[in-house]
Symmetry: C2
Subunit: 197 residues, 2 copies
């Protein structure tokens, strides 16, 4: 007996990642009862984002222009291309101030369970990007999760077949980390991948 | 350097209850990258809900008509009025099939920390509703949390001052519950509020 426009809103909110039926209900009540301006703002922001956002032709991240500001910048080292999963990963690498090359954002990772294979990830676009001969090295910076590792593996194979130099972020004990509090898997990796001094 | 329409969407999503900056970012990426139809649907559902939903003049729940279906039904016992916090509570009571009276939905609870006092809860509307002389008994079914109890207390006082008969859902050991696995607070209440057989 609940009104259909309320049910429809709750259903639409359930489509958000990590939102179950109870949270969707709570969100709908909150928006309608306590924050109608927030609801209007969200509806407007959704419409606007859908209308103006597209993918950068070069790095594939979200942008409002054909080519994003970063890719268009002459300040960046175009010989380095760092491949990340999501814009959030790009942001974290930028925060390090340790990298001045360009990026390619996959906008996802291989995840067969979610039906995301090499085709859905549009790896062709990455291969076309690398084919411009200015890129000298591709640094794979996907996550060190199973899915991120699998993604790095496939991308590395595809690039190696085209004769591109490929590297991967190093794995090991975190900076400031104590061995006692580091998981054994990480320590095992740090042993296997030990560096000569 | 992230586009402003994306930032604005992430910001608007952060306004949802229980959504922090990381989840808001994840939701925005998901909607834009994997579920643009879901995003359109959510924007539409928000706009539609804001446009057509209002509060029932009698029970205060969300409805698309002036008086909701339940309040308009001649099948319900108009002498009983059950006061609940939210429409979700009403739905749970309906599911029991143990109640055939009418409801009043507070659309919240007293919560001084969130700035919700008796005025924000619009208790006047409840008092006006009860003043129609068909209501013989008001059953308080707010939650048994601190805020719900405080709400019940205030509402009971206001109604008692107007000579209305007020009752509260009973507290005690859940049906099917084992004493060994029931918290001591509940058992203490069940002792104090023991029923003669």
């Amino acid at each position: 007996m609940s009104p259909s426009s309320l049910d429809e809103l709750i259903d639409a909110l359930r489509g958000l990642p990590g939102v179950g039926p109870k949270s969707a209900q709570r969100m709908a009540y909150h928006l309608l009862q306590r924050d109608q301006r927030g609801a209007e703002r969200l509806a407007r922001a959704l419409g606007n984002a859908l209308a103006v956002l597209c993918h950068c032709e070069r790095c594939n991240t979200f942008t409002e222009t054909e080519i994003c500001q970063r890719c268009a910048s002459p300040q960046r080292d175009a010989s380095l291309l760092c491949v990340v999963e999501m814009p959030a990963d790009l942001a974290v690498i930028e925060q390090t101030h340790a990298y001045n090359g360009l990026y390619y954002v996959l906008m996802g990772r291989l995840s067969p369970l979610d039906g995301i294979g090499p085709r859905e990830l549009k790896l062709d676009k990455l291969l076309a990007r690398v084919a411009d001969n200015t890129v000298q090295e591709v640094i794979l910076a996907t996550n060190f999760t199973n899915e991120g590792e699998a993604t790095a593996h496939i991308v590395a194979e595809l690039l190696a077949a085209r004769g591109v130099k490929v590297s991967r972020l190093s794995r090991g004990v975190p900076v400031g980390g104590e061995l006692e509090h580091t998981d054994t898997g990480t320590i095992a990796q740090a042993l296997v991948e030990r560096r000569p001094l």
